[in-house]
Structure formats: C-alpha cells, structure tokens
C-alpha cells in the first residue's frame, strides 16, 4: 500500500527544492539492475586491462572456446572413426604426418581430431559443473550467511558432510552407480564442490550483513529478500565469478581423472578418455609422446587459464582476499 508523505518544509527550502526538481527529473535514472550489470561489466573488462594474468587466462579461454565452436571445421576425421589402410590394416600408431597431425592411436583413430573434439566436452563439463557448483554455493552462502541461526547451522553441517566425503572416490562411485556419463560426473562435482564457494560467500555475506549499508537498508524498510538479493548479492557476484573460473578447472580435472580411471563414457571423446586410451594402449612404453602429451597439455592450459583469471580478478578486485 503506497502511502504518501506530506511535504513539510519551510518556505525557503521549498523554493530551493523546487529549483532542483527539473535536475532530478532530467538526470539519467538508469534502472538498478542495468546499472549494476553495467558496473559488473565494467569490472569484468577492467580486470584484464589491469592484470596480465587475467588477460592471458581470457585469451586461452577464447582460443579453446573458438576451437570448440569450430571443432567440426577443424577436424579431419570423426574422432572415434577407426581408420584403415587399403590393405585392411589399421592405420595404427602412426607418427605425426601431414594427414594425421598428431598421428594415430593404437586403435587407428586420428589423435588430432580427438584432441580438437575433446575441447568441446572439456568446456561443456567444465562450464556446466562450474555453474552448478557456484550457483549452489552462492545460493547456500547467501542464505546461510544472511539468515544465520538454524538455517545456517543446517546448511553448514551439510557443507561439512559434503567436505567429509572424499571427492574423487565419490565421483567414481557415482559414475559407476548412475552410469558412465559426463552428466553424472557433473552431478558428482556439483554435489560435493559447492561447500568451498558456499563457505567463502557465507563469510563474505556475514561480514556484509554487519556492514552499515545493510543496516541502512533495514532501517529504510527493505525486506529481507530484497536485502539479500538486491543489496548483498551484487557484492558477492564477483566472488562467485572468481569461484566459477576455478571450478571450471576442478571440473575438467575431475572429469579427466574419472575418465582416466575408466569410469567415463566410452562414446564421448574427452581428454581424459584420450589419456586413458593412451595409457591402456601402452603409449608410454611405445614412447608415443605425440599421443599422451597434447591432451595433458590442453588440460593444463584450460585449468591454468581458470586459475589465471581468478588470480587476476582476485588481485584487482579483492586485493585483501586470501585464496
């Protein structure tokens, strides 16, 4: 129920105020959300300008993203296609040639094509898992940090439990329980990794909650959800972003480990799958560095890019925050 306020001032102040009115009416009045997004966007672009880490990280991401998008154009073969020579012999274990840039695998598959297509699943797994992790983490952190009390207790005990579950073993068990699919790996990651971001965001929220501007929101009549999502949430968004960029890395590493141990899907090419294939096919003994070095390096680069970005953002936006 809107309720009017009676203007009541002295004649002189009224006059001055009246003179201000046109300025207020004409001054740009961007809607809060757009203004906030604009500000977040500014911060987003400001960081790579100020931090070389963020710059390098974003460039690496960009390269991999482009590779993933144009993967179909970049590959020469179906990644899982078994290639034969004319004499019905497999084109196996070939060294790098102009036709097979990174050679072929023991089962006669083109390694370069696998590497390129692997970018897709790496980014898909990495991004979806990271978004799930951070979305859960942020929400839990916000709610636990702001409401405190038994809600906080409950959520943090849940976090304790999640942190008490050995991560990789759990994902392995889950993958063998729910079936070898990347979605299950993502699920496993989402189920166990959220407490890290939740804890940090919670403590951030708890300190924000004590900040005077939150009290100001309360005293000016803002409801608790409005305080939480309009006043507090934007202040932790950058932190969420930071965690997302790290979580992408963890997710890719985890997926690779799970695939490597043989619990990944056999019909999706991922870098972990490639490494598993190479390991199981004795590429190490054969000295096929062209086979097992590139996927590993790709993982290193993508994950490192995430670390770089988070490091860059941390340096610029949270100089005091400890990792």
């Amino acid at each position: 129920m809107p309720q009017a306020i009676e203007p009541m001032g002295t004649a002189s102040t009224d006059q001055t105020a009246a003179a201000l009115l046109p300025h207020l009416a004409t001054a740009p009045r961007r809607s809060g959300l757009i203004a906030m997004l604009g500000r977040a966007g500014n911060a987003f672009w400001r960081v790579p300008r100020e931090s070389n880490y963020a710059k390098v990280g974003l460039i690496i991401y960009l390269i991999f993203a482009l590779t993933a998008i144009f993967a179909d154009q970049l590959v020469h073969y179906e990644p899982l296609e078994i290639l034969f020579a004319d004499n019905y012999q497999l084109r196996r274990n070939l060294p790098p040639t102009t036709d097979h840039w990174l050679g072929t695998s023991y089962s006669g598959r083109d390694i370069y094509s696998q590497l390129v297509m692997g970018t897709r699943s790496a980014l898909a797994v990495g991004l979806t898992a990271a978004i799930c992790v951070v979305a859960i983490g942020t929400l839990v952190g916000l709610v636990a940090g702001y409401f405190g009390g038994w809600i906080d207790n409950l959520l943090m005990r849940l976090a304790d439990i999640a942190l008490g579950i050995p991560f990789l073993p759990f994902v392995i068990v889950l993958a063998s329980f729910m079936g070898a699919a990347q979605s299950n790996v993502v699920l496993g990651i989402a189920l166990l990794l959220w407490p890290n971001s939740a804890r940090v965001i919670r403590s951030q929220v708890m300190s924000l909650r004590e900040r005077a501007f939150i009290e100001a929101a309360r005293v000016t009549g803002a409801g608790k959800w409005r305080i939480l999502f309009v006043h507090i949430a934007p202040n932790v968004l950058a932190l969420s972003f930071l965690y997302t960029s790290v979580a992408v890395g963890w997710a890719i590493l985890t997926e690779a480990s799970v695939s490597f141990l043989g619990f990944g899907p056999s019909d999706t090419v991922s870098w972990g799958y490639m490494l598993q294939d190479a390991y199981a096919s004795q590429a190490l003994g054969r000295g096929q560095y062209n086979w097992f070095i590139p996927p590993g390096l790709c993982i290193v680069f993508v994950v490192m890019a995430g670390f770089f970005i988070s490091r860059g953002y941390e340096e610029v936006l949270f100089p005091k925050l400890k990792g």
């Binding site: 390991y279 096919s281 004795q282």
Partner: protein
C-alpha cells in the same frame, strides 16, 4: 517348421522380384514391409577389453552396410552379465568370449554345453539356440569311448553349428608368452596345445641355467583365493595346480595321463575305473597320501553346498570303493568320454585330516570356497610359502616324484600391462605368463633383447558374437548366416586383434588338432554375399535400411 519358413521366404523373395520387374518403386514396396529395429551391440567396456570393443565397432560398421542401425554399448563385466547372462530375453547381439582352460582340452565342455537346448534357461546356452539334431549329436559324443567314432560326432556337431551360425565366431586369440632365455634353458620348456609354455609341465620341467633359480611370473589380476575347492580366476588356478596334485594330469599331447595314480584302468563299458595310487606321495605336512584322501577329494565336492564349482566335475560319480591301501574304484552311471580330463585331471587331492573337520564345521549357507585355510597343504611339487597382496611364493619339494628344477615359483600381481613388460625387460620377471597388451610391443621387446624369447599359442577359447536366437530376426538362420558372412574375419583378426588371433569358425579350436574340423574354415565372406543371402531370404534394403520380408513385423 524350417521347411515352411523357407517356402514362405521363397514366396516373399519372388514377390519382391515381381514387384521390381513390374516397375513398382521400392518405396511403395516399403509400405508393406517393416524395418528391422535399431540394434544395440553389447561389449565389454573399451577400457576393460579394447580388442573386443573394437571388433564390435568394426562389426557395427560392416552391418551398417547391410542396412542395420547398430550402436555399440560398452559395459562393465557385471552389467554385461546382467544384461546378457541373467536376463536372457532382452538383448539382441552381444560380444562374448569363452576362455581356454586345461580341462577344456577335451572338446566335451564346449560341445555338450554351449548349444544344447537344455541349457537355454540358465545354462551355457545363453543365446537360446535350439536344434534337436545338435542335441542328439552332443549327447552321443559323450558316451562314445572310441576316439575315432567320437571324432566323427564332434565333426558333425561343428558342421551343424557352422550351418546355423548361432555365434559369429571371430578369432581364436593367439596368446603370447615370453621368458628369459638367459635364465632358463629353452629346450626344457614344454609347449602344450592350447596352453603354450605356461603350463604345469613347463613349471616342473624348466631348468634354470645359472644362479637365478626362481621362476618369477606375472598375473594381471588380483587374486582372491588359493583354495583347493575354489576356482576364482586364472592366476590362482595356476597356483593350485602346483600345490595340489591330481589323479591324472593333461600331458603335452593334450590327453590325460596318470599322475598321482600309477594306473587308471576302465572296464569295457567305460563305467568303472580302477585306480592304483602311487606309493611315494606325501602331503607337505609329512602325512602320506592315502586312498582315503583320494576318495575324500572326489567325494567331498559332491556334498551339497561344499564346493559349487567342483560339484559338476564329480557329479558323474555314483560310487567309490577302496579295494586296498593303494587301490580304489570309481563308478559312473554311464560312460563319460571327458571324465579323465574334466574330473580326474581336475579335482585337487586334499588332505582329509585337514579338510574333513573344516567341512564338518561349515554352517548353513557357507561353502568350502570361503574357508580360509592358511596352511594350504597339498601334495604337489611345490608347497605354499606365503601370499601377500602382490605376490605368491611357492617353493619346490625336492623329493617329489616329479621334483621341479627351479627352487621357487613366484607369482607377482602386476596390474599394469606396461609395467609387466618393463619388469620382463629389467629381469624382475623371467616368465611373462599373463600378457594382455599389444603383442607387437612384446615382439619388439624380444627383437631388441636377445634374452627375451616369445612363444605364441592359439587358444582353446575363442572370441565371438552371440545372436539372441530367441528374437527376430535372429531366430532366422538365414539372417544369422548373412550377418556372419558380412564380417571379414581376417579384417577383425588384423584390425581388432592386431593379427594376434586366428580367424575362427568353430567352437572347437585348432589348438585341439584331433578334434578340430578344418572344413568349417571354408566360409564365403563379403557384403555382397551377405546382401544376396538376405534378399534370397526375402529381406530387402530400402533407403539404406534393412526390412523384414513382407508380412513379418517386429514384436519388440
């Protein structure tokens, strides 16, 4: 029934011919025929069995040319068993394998069990193949004691299977074994058909050349037990063979010969064996091996719930009798051609004084399989020393009648195939008994290193693809033949098994030369042949998709 089917197929095939002559477009014809559903070809997961998985993919590619939409699904062992073995009605095609074991050096196990219709429900015949003619032949060969007569029957069984193609046989894998020639005198190794140089006879006969008197071999799986009443996997049965003697053993020619017995003689009907045991045998704890121990060893698995694994081996026995301190008889209900191989050469001779109390103490639901008997006392040429998680150590008994030339046999668990190869090269292993990796790498290693020698052997077991013969279109032998002929076995052997496999077309391996029917090798192969066969049978390929003969529809 098969006649009517063939007539029916003939009519539909001619209908298709007439239709095409009349200029009716194929699309119009398609309206009256229904397509074959998309199929899932099951296999072990690629990681677990890359060769099998790859063969499956090659087969899927080939069948694609016949208008079948085939997806390969790789499953872990337990899930694959669940789908194919325990739920027999719900799958279409699956990769599978039968492994060679010493007792399978008699063809009986495969010939009687794999395709007999009695085994469709829960036995070995998981593909559901049923042919009364085959049942008759399979039963008959068991009862024939005359080897040549039995050979004819075994040949006939192979011909029937060859005609009906319930399996698409792919390869008899070639197994490679390697040993260190610097350590062992290679002339003393025994190469047994189907088993190669890794066999009991080799282990006791092989002579060390120098100071290294340990035979160090590898196994690529974890062991779960070393127990005379239990077979858990390949590795532990190699050990049980060495620790526990048997009444007979399979000789280098693949045929059973008396071992712990001085003689095994049969009556004319082939139903009563008289066994005279050796007098120089004793258990590793010093107790002599008595007739009672022999009888106990053959009798105890018959008891309900004692040794489920060994029970089938001793089931044919109806009675046993001790004649004197060295002689006893074993009576069978009917003649059994495989009895010497699969029972007398199989059952471990255990000390009654140790096992009788243990078996008596078993509670309801428990079996001897789960008894942890730490002493592992047998009478074999090696006694058990120790077993930690990564290795089993046996040491030779010098005064055994067939005393081994090596001091110890050490079996090392090496899960990583690459590591096992590395250990062979470094000399940590001197007998590579279990190599599951790329055979080429092993060959290369042998070429590079003079002290490594490789011996190949064709396996008794084989790799195959099973059709679920219960379900259309695989209930039609014509379809099975066509699909089988579409597969180039040489390609499979080369591409999936890296050339280390012999193209197969029978359930009796050429590793058993006496029983192997070489005539089965003649198979027409190729997509054209297969397409022609399918069209003859009334099937059609419309828009790249295989369709049933007119009037037939799917019930799945």
């Amino acid at each position: 029934m098969s006649t009517t089917r063939r007539q029916f197929l003939g009519t539909s095939a001619s209908a298709a011919l007439i239709a095409s002559l009349a200029g009716v477009p194929k699309a119009a014809l398609a309206q009256s025929v229904s397509p074959v559903r998309a199929l899932t070809l099951y296999s072990r997961a690629q990681a677990a069995n890359p060769q099998q998985y790859q063969a499956a993919e090659l087969i899927a590619q080939a069948w694609g040319d016949l208008g079948l939409d085939v997806t390969v699904s790789g499953l872990p062992q337990n899930q694959l068993s669940d789908v194919v073995w325990y739920n027999r009605d719900s799958w279409d095609v699956s990769m599978w394998q039968m492994v060679g074991r010493p007792e399978r050096s008699d063809p009986d196990d495969f010939v009687s069990n794999l395709f007999h219709s009695a085994n469709i429900e829960s036995g070995y015949n998981f593909v559901g193949y049923s042919n009364p003619e085959y049942d008759r032949v399979a039963e008959a060969q068991r009862l024939v004691v005359d080897r040549d007569a039995r050979q004819a029957l075994i040949y006939e069984a192979q011909d029937i299977v060859n005609a009906d193609q319930p399996y698409v046989f792919l390869v008899y894998p070639t197994k490679s074994y390697a040993y260190n020639t610097a350590v062992f005198d290679d002339t003393t190794l025994v190469n047994q058909p189907g088993l190669g140089i890794k066999n009991f006879l080799s282990f006791i006969a092989v002579e060390p050349k120098g100071d290294q008197k340990d035979l160090i071999m590898n196994v690529s799986n974890e062991l779960n037990a070393i127990n005379p009443y239990y077979i858990s996997g390949a590795g532990d049965s190699w050990m049980t063979e060495l620790i526990w003697d048997r009444i007979m053993r399979i000789d280098a020619d693949g045929l059973p010969t008396p071992w712990a017995a001085e003689s095994v003689t049969w009556n004319d009907e082939g139903t009563l064996a008289t066994i005279v045991i050796r007098d120089d045998l004793s258990f590793h704890d010093g107790m002599p091996v008595r007739v009672e121990d022999m009888i106990f060893s053959l009798e105890s698995p018959q008891r309900a719930g004692v040794a489920p694994m060994y029970k089938p081996f001793v089931d044919p026995i109806v009675a046993m009798e001790k004649l004197d301190d060295r002689t006893f008889t074993v009576e069978l209900a009917q003649p059994n051609a495989a009895f010497e191989t699969s029972t007398l050469s199989k059952v471990n001779i255990v000390p009654e004084h140790i096992w009788a109390p243990l078996l008596d103490a078993l509670v309801e639901g428990e079996t001897a399989e789960s008894v942890l008997e730490d002493s592992r006392v047998g009478s074999g040429p090696f006694k058990f020393d120790r077993w930690n998680q990564s290795e089993v150590v046996l040491s030779a008994i010098p005064d055994h009648f067939a005393a081994a030339k090596v001091d110890r046999v050490i079996m090392r668990v090496v899960l990583n195939v690459e590591a096992s190869l590395g250990m062979l090269r470094s000399g940590e292993l001197n007998f590579l008994t279990d190599y599951t990796g790329d055979p080429q790498l092993l060959k290369d290693a042998a070429d590079a290193d003079d002290s490594i020698a490789v011996v190949d052997v064709t396996d008794i077991g084989f790799q195959f693809l099973g059709f679920n013969c219960r379900r259309a279109p695989f209930d039609d032998p014509a379809v099975r033949r066509a699909l089988s002929f579409a597969i180039n076995r040489r390609l499979i052997a080369g591409a999936a098994y890296n050339g280390f496999g012999r193209p197969a077309n029978s359930h009796v391996s050429p590793a058993l030369p006496f029983w192997y029917n070489a005539a089965t090798e003649e198979l027409p192969v190729g997509i054209d042949v297969a397409t022609a066969m399918l069209e003859d049978a009334g099937y059609s390929i419309v828009d790249g998709q295989l369709h049933y003969p007119a009037g037939m529809t799917e019930q799945y």
